[in-house]
């Protein structure tokens, strides 16, 4: 790929993910409102939120570590944009994927959570420190099942680490294979924790720790954090569908509709889980991920190995 095409893809992916992220954030709030028998905000609400945040002043607490405080949102934002670029590129032309791009995407998508930790720790606020430590515990809990859940898809795609190959190789689908279905469910719950949504929004528990890691942010850094979270809400289901559900195809009308439906289904399931569950304690969450989801993911890997050996 020549550099011009690469930069063009970057901008397309950034703009596309931004708009998609805002739409998905609106879907989240609207579905939440409908579940609660309310009328939700209008469709332009996320745009208004970001516009307002950009117009506010940025205040840095005097004892905060200024570099870490300001750098953390930028790190998270940059990581999400690059991961989105890779995913968009792979979905637009599966032949363009390179060996190991699945691992690159997974690595990049851990950076926004690390940015939350850095930002919270740099805030010089006890609420920020508590939020940072909780986010660290969560990262240690959900990353392993998430990666393990992707392994059955790797195996079914023919022992490959290329996202394009995983998408295009005919493999047992989610509806017919136990391993893929188990992997999908595990990955869905890990995505719920990664996005910081109830029942796993422990790091940013509003009612408990006043915003946790984000308590001291205001103005443009807060707008970056908002953008990052909106884009993560758009990107994580793209990753899920790409790896575990056959990817997006816009070649035929039927394929396009199926792709959109898959994506919307993942988002709606996420939002409904968010609206029907209470927040769990951080030690319960760790036990759930380590002793509940990791064995299920390991079982899925074993089943996939057995299935591929036949």
């Amino acid at each position: 790929m020549n550099p011009a095409a690469m930069i063009g893809l970057l901008f397309v992916a950034f703009a596309g993910t931004l708009v998609l992220g805002f739409v998905m954030k609106w879907v989240d709030r609207k579905v939440t409102a409908m579940v609660q028998w309310r009328v939700g905000p209008p469709w332009y609400q996320p745009f208004a939120d970001v516009a307002k945040l950009l117009g506010k002043e940025t205040i840095i607490p005097q004892n905060a570590r200024r570099t870490g405080f300001l750098l953390a949102p930028m790190l998270g934002f940059a990581a999400v944009v690059v991961a989105a670029t890779i995913l968009w590129g792979v979905n637009l032309s599966p032949k363009a994927s390179f060996v190991g791009d699945l691992i690159v995407v997974l690595y990049l998508l851990t950076i926004p959570s690390l940015a939350v930790v850095i930002g919270g720790a740099a805030s010089s606020n006890p609420h920020g420190a508590v939020g940072a430590s909780r986010e660290m515990k969560l990262i240690l809990s959900y990353e392993l099942p998430l990666v393990l859940a992707m392994v059955p898809a790797m195996i079914a795609g023919g022992w490959t680490l290329k996202l394009g190959a995983i998408m295009t190789t005919p493999s047992p689908s989610v509806w017919t294979s136990v391993a893929m279905a188990a992997g999908f469910v595990v990955a869905l719950l890990c995505v719920q924790a990664k996005l910081g949504l109830v029942p796993f929004d422990i790091a940013e528990a509003e009612t408990e720790i006043m915003g946790g890691a984000f308590v001291e942010y205001s103005g443009a850094p807060l707008a970056l954090i908002y953008l990052t979270r909106a884009m993560m809400l758009a990107v994580m289901p793209i990753l899920l569908v790409t790896v575990l559900w056959g990817g997006f195809t816009f070649a035929s009308v039927g394929g396009a509709i199926a792709s959109i439906l898959k994506y919307v289904l993942v988002i709606v399931v996420t939002v409904l889980v968010r609206n029907t569950n209470p927040r769990v304690r951080v030690d319960h969450a760790m036990k759930f991920f380590w002793f509940g989801l990791t064995p299920v993911a390991l079982l899925a890997v074993v089943l996939a190995l057995v299935g591929s050996a036949q």
Partner: protein, 150 residues
């Protein structure tokens, strides 16, 4: 109005500060968030930190202990912001006007740190949620007009 002021008018995030209220006004503010009145359709969210807030909902007359703390919370709020004094006690100290432990109504206390604070008043004991919403709308409109003019 430019896009930043449009954003402020369409997405006011509120932070609730109780500096000495009897909690009646706090209950009515909570009612505003419930499905019957649903202020989220105006973009109003209850935020956990004053740094994220555009509107401070102040209830109660300021007690002596709360006075420096209210001033600190106001200074922590990122400007531009409006202050909404909800309830009779917040507007003018109400029946506690001559009490021994009061330091004044919130608008006087906030004007000590910022003489140009934008303050809206919602009288009532407690004001109905409709009144609180009307007061918030009027306060935001006044704030946007002030900010557009510069």
């Amino acid at each position: 109005m430019n896009w930043k002021v449009w954003g402020l008018s369409k997405s006011p995030w509120v932070y609730h500060v109780n500096v000495g209220a009897c909690n009646n006004c706090d209950i009515e503010i909570l009612d505003c968030l419930t499905p019957r009145f649903d202020v989220e359709r105006f973009g109003m969210l209850l935020v956990p930190s004053p740094r994220h807030a555009d509107a401070l909902l102040v209830t109660g007359g300021v007690t002596r202990q709360a006075r420096p703390r209210l001033q600190e919370v106001y200074r922590q709020t990122a400007k531009p912001c409006i202050v909404l004094c909800v309830g009779a006690c917040a507007c003018s100290m109400g029946i506690f006007a001559d009490c021994y432990h009061m330091a004044g109504p919130p608008d006087k206390v906030i004007r000590e740190v910022d003489p140009n604070a934008i303050i809206a008043y919602v009288p009532g004991c407690p004001p109905k949620p409709e009144a609180i919403i009307a007061g918030a709308v009027k306060g935001l409109q006044a704030a946007c007009k002030l900010l557009s003019q510069g």
